[in-house]
Structure formats: C-alpha cells, structure tokens
C-alpha cells in the first residue's frame, strides 16, 4: 500500500502527470520500463554482452582453448588484459567466449523450464480437478528437493556434461513456472471473455493458447527474465562442481574452479570470470526487476 502511495507522491513531484489517454498493458509497461534507470543500465549491459557473444572471434586475437605454456600465469598487462591462466591461455579471450556459453545455458535452460512449467501450469489451472491435483503433486515432489539438489540429482542420472546441466537446470526450474502460470490462470479463468470463448464453441486448445496464454504473459515474462539469471548461476555452479562443462571449454564457473588453486599466485584467473558472471546476472536481474515493477498491476496508476 505505502509502496504505491509513496511511489505516486514521488512521481508526482518529479514527472509530469500521466496523460489520460489509455494505453495497452504492454504499451503502458514499456512506458514505465523506460522511466526506470536501473532497467536501462541492465539493458545496455545485456546488449553489450550479447554483442560480445556474437562477435567473440572478432573482439580478441587469441584462441580460447589453445595452450601456450610459455605464457602461463602472466599478470594482466596491455598484451593480456586479464592475464593468462596456468596453461598460458588469455583470460580475456576465454571470458569473452564464455559469454556465449553462459547466455546459451541461460536461454536453453529457461526454454526447457518454460515449455515444461507453463504447460503444467496451464493444464493444472484450466482443467482443475484431477489434472490439477496430479500436476501440483508433481510440483510438490520436485520442490521437495532443496535448492540446487534437484539439478544435481538429474545430472547424476544423465551424466555430467554441459547439455545435461542445461536440461537439469531447466527441469528443476519448471515447478516455479508451473506455480506462477497456474496462479495467473486461476485469476482470469472465470473472466467473461473466457466464458464467451467457451460459449461460442472455441476448442480447449484455442482457449488455452489464444485466450489464456496471452493474458497471463505478464507474470510469465517476469519469471522467465529472472529465470535466465538463476539458470546462469545454477549452470555455472554445476560446471564449478565439475558436473557441467568439461575442460577446456571456456565456461565461467569452470574457469573459477580451475583458478581457485592459484588464488595466491594468480588472483586474476578466478577474478575475471567471477566478475563476468556477476555482471551478466546483475544485468538480467536489473531488467527483470524493472519488468516486474512495470508489469505489476498494483504499481499502475488508474
């Protein structure tokens, strides 16, 4: 409550009053997103990271995996911006190439989580009854594994490698998506427009995909965005533990793990990949927080 009133007061002090012209949910949200400096910073950072991922080979002249034993453990310099690791590989190059892997892990895991979780939530919320009971029981079971444990179990079954880590992270994130989707579906299921669609004989599929889904996209977009950040952390954690990417892959979590025995002699091996993960996750969290505030109906001025 205060959240809203205070936000209104401060907004009233700074910004011109919102025009009375009506805006669509997305237009309105976009308007408020652009007024959020945090989200702006996050978005710029994110674009830079995506560019780094795309143009990695053009950005650096070194090879990310080729060994160069003569140049091992070089401190940061004009030649090697972030120094070199114990195999003489340029850390900057590996960090830049690592952008590809981490963003891939984030996106692939979240796509898996979304496909699985959103369908579970749609089915549970729309059909109710037995379907709801079954799906939510499955969700409860999955949520009974604390933290990263479910992902660890799945990796144990599938075997440790990068793709399996993405699958594991995706599956273990699905229950959250299922819950959010189900909650949103329950909120609008009894709306008049759904009833109308049912009455004019729209098929179940059509109602779910054309009527329900577009109207619950708001909360889903927020979980998906913040989910990418969580998935990047989880994926890097698995690689750090030796249960994800394999050497010599330039994966940030793995690089940190390789550098931790050299903390005393060569702090740069672990530090730069660590900063890279943090910057990436921070950028996504900033955008996600901004989206949440922008899409939250309680923050909207009526």
């Amino acid at each position: 409550m205060t959240n809203r009133t205070l936000a209104q007061q401060t907004d009233a002090g700074k910004a011109p009053p919102t025009p009375l012209r009506s805006r669509s949910l997305w237009g309105d949200s976009l308007y408020r997103l652009t007024r959020n400096p945090g989200a702006g910073v996050g978005l710029i950072l994110l674009v830079l990271l995506i560019l780094a991922a795309i143009f990695a080979p053009q950005i650096t002249r070194f090879d990310p995996v080729l060994l160069a034993p003569r140049d091992r453990l070089q401190p940061p310099s004009l030649e090697y911006w972030f120094g070199t690791d114990m195999f003489g590989r340029d850390i900057f190059t590996r960090v830049v190439f690592g952008t590809r892997i981490s963003l891939l892990v984030g996106v692939v895991s979240v796509v898996i989580a979304t496909l699985l979780g959103v369908s579970m939530g749609l089915i549970a919320g729309y059909f109710g009854g037995l379907a709801d009971a079954l799906v939510m029981r499955a969700v409860d079971v999955m949520l009974a594994f604390p933290g990263i444990l479910l992902a660890l179990v799945i990796v144990a079954v599938l075997g440790p490698d990068l793709l399996n880590a993405m699958i594991a992270v995706g599956i273990s994130a699905a229950p959250t998506y299922a819950r959010v989707t189900r909650g949103a579906v329950l909120q609008i299921k009894s709306s008049l427009f759904i009833e109308a669609a049912t009455v004019i004989g729209a098929s179940t599929w059509r109602i779910m995909l054309r009527h329900l889904l577009p109207n619950i996209l708001g909360p889903i977009v927020v979980v998906v965005t913040l989910g990418v950040a969580g998935a990047i952390i989880a994926g890097a954690s698995l690689s750090f533990l030796g249960l994800g990417a394999r050497p010599p892959t330039p994966e940030w979590g793995l690089m940190l793990s390789e550098g931790r025995n050299f903390l005393r002699q060569a702090w740069w091996i672990s530090t730069f990949p660590g900063l890279a993960i943090m910057a990436t996750v921070l950028a996504i969290n900033l955008v996600g927080d901004g989206l949440r505030d922008a899409l939250d109906p309680r923050m909207r001025k009526s």
């Binding site: 409550m1 205060t2 959240n3 009133t5 205070l6 401060t10 029981r137 409860d140 079971v141 009974a144 594994f145 604390p146 933290g147 990263i148 444990l149 660890l152 179990v153 990796v155 144990a156 079954v157 075997g159 440790p160 950040a229 952390i233 890097a236 954690s237 750090f240 533990l241 030796g242 249960l243 979590g253 940190l256 793990s257 931790r260 903390l263 005393r264 702090w267 672990s270 530090t271 660590g274 993960i277 943090m278 996750v281 921070l282 969290n285 900033l286 927080d289």
Partner: protein, 307 residues
C-alpha cells in the same frame, strides 16, 4: 494447534513417499550397472557380476526391490556405499554435524543481516541509504555462492590472513563459509523485509499509533516490525533449502567434510546408493523444515486458522 500439526504431517506423507519412489528409481535410471560399479575396475567375470546382483537384489522385480529398499529405510538401513561398502547411514550421520553447523550459522547471519538491512531501507525509503542498501542487496542476489566464497577467501584469508581458508572445526573455520552462504541469503531477505515493512508502515493501525503520540521507535519496533516479519517467516523454509543446496558448493570450496561435499563426491564416483540415501535424507529434512515453518507461521499470525 496439535490437530493442525497432525494434519500437515499427514498431508506431507504422499509427497515424501513419491520422493522415495523417485529417488529409488535414480539407481535404476542411471546408465551403467550398479554391480559393475561396486566391483570397480577389477576384471569382473559374469559369474561375479551375477552373484553381486543377487546379493544386491538387482535380479528381483522393480516393485519388490522398492519395497525391500523402503523396508530397509524404515529400519534405518539405507544400503551400503558402492565405493567403500560401509553402511551409508554411518557416513551420513558422521558428516551431518558439519552441515548442520554451517547451515544454522549461515541462517543466523542471513536472517539478522537481511532483517536489519530491510528495516533500515524501509525506514529511509527513497533516500540514499535505501538506494545503497538495495544496490548492495541486488549485488548479493546476483552473486553465485562459489564466487562469493572465493572472494571471501581471497580477501580474508589470502590477503588479510584473518581466517584459515579451508578445513573445519572451531569458530575461525566456520566464519568464512557461513558468511559466504549467509550474505547471499541476507540479500534476498533484505529485499523482502523492505517491501513487507513498507506495506505495513502505510496501514491504518500504524497511522493510529502515530496519531496517539507514540514515539517513532515504539511505532516501528512494537507495531510495524512484528507484522512486517510475518510474511518473512514463510520464506525462511525456502531460504533453508537454498542454504542446504548452497552447502554443496561451500563445503566443496572450503573443504568441509559435510553432506554437501559427500554428495558431489558420490555423484562423481558414481556411488549411487550414497546419492540415493543423501537425496532422501536432505529432501525429508527439507519437507520437515517447511512443515515447522508453516507451524511457526500459524503460531505467529492469529489470522491463520489452525484447521
């Protein structure tokens, strides 16, 4: 109250049972033969394999195997480690204190820091203090635990030489891993306490308390805080789960002989009876903790009916 606890306990039984089925199936879904893993690299003859399979009961139908596994579990027999051939329960019990100590210490740090940061942020809403605290919290939320751990080791062990970097035993070896876990947990909590506190501070009863001339201190501590902390309790269970999961990483980094490290080692060594037992143990512990949290929640908030 007792009935409420009983009902909740009953309601969690199906979940726990399904967890056991899932965990049991792990051993049978994995590529590779447990008997071969047990025999290890030694050239195993088909006869030896067959014998081990019979001993482990792997030749029986799946549901019979499950029932006998569960029968054992109920009597405290979780099977033997495929690597050491020692009862897994002994190993788990031996390693549990290290994990419990770490998780509780981290929980304490996380809760205290998170609550204080959240309250301060809310009281100084829209000032630089609020912004700074929330920026800090956002940074904490964006930090993977392993990166936080290495950072703490680097600063407080390598650089300042205040605490030993690895090992266990004694407070000085608990401080760094507990802070690594606790700081991250406090970030999530701080954000939550702040919004919860802001919501409460805008309510009528707070206005009334102010209007009747109570000091700001009493209003905040006696009236607002109590109500603001109620939603916070619900996430404590979730936080505990995050801490248990995080222990997997911190124990590996800080070389603590706890359950988390055992877990990772068992996966890497394909010791699946151990993975099975540990998963079961941690999942049940987590379900019970969440139950406790729900009971505490009902006890604190009179608006929640017990039945």
């Amino acid at each position: 109250m007792l009935r409420y606890i009983g009902n909740r306990l009953l309601a969690s039984i199906p979940t726990v049972l399904l967890v056991t089925v899932l965990v049991f199936l792990i051993l049978h879904l994995i590529p590779g033969d447990p008997a071969e893993i047990f025999l290890g690299d030694s050239r195993s003859t088909p006869e030896m394999l067959a014998q081990v399979r019979t001993e482990m009961g792997l030749d029986r139908p799946l549901h019979i195997q499950y029932l006998s596994y569960m029968g054992g579990v109920l009597q405290g027999d979780f099977g033997r480690s495929l690597n050491t051939n020692r009862p897994v329960l002994d190993e788990i019990v031996g390693r549990f204190p290290a994990t419990l100590e770490l998780t509780l210490a981290a929980m304490l740090i996380g809760t205290v820091l998170g609550t204080v940061l959240g309250i301060v942020s809310a009281l100084f809403h829209n000032t630089w203090i609020d912004s700074a605290a929330m920026a800090l919290a956002l940074l904490g939320v964006s930090m993977p635990i392993f990166w936080m751990s290495l950072l703490l080791i680097f600063v407080f062990s390598v650089w300042l030489n205040w605490f030993p970097a690895i090992g266990e035993g004694g407070l000085e070896r608990l401080v760094l891993p507990a802070f690594a876990l606790g700081l991250i947990s406090s970030s999530t909590l701080a954000r939550l306490v702040r919004s919860s506190m802001l919501e409460v501070l805008g309510q009528d009863f707070v206005r009334t308390a102010r209007a009747k001339g109570l000091t700001e201190r009493v209003v905040v501590l006696r009236h607002a805080l109590k109500n603001a902390l109620i939603p916070t309790i619900t996430v404590l269970g979730l936080q505990f789960g995050q801490l248990l999961g995080g222990a997997v990483i911190t124990e590996t980094i800080f070389a603590r002989r706890g359950l988390g490290r055992l877990y990772v080692e068992s996966i890497l060594n394909k010791d699946f009876t151990m993975v099975q037992a540990l998963t079961l143990f941690l999942a049940i512990a987590y379900v019970l903790i969440n139950l406790l949290v729900d009971v505490a929640y009902a006890a604190v908030d009179p608006r929640i009916a017990y039945d």
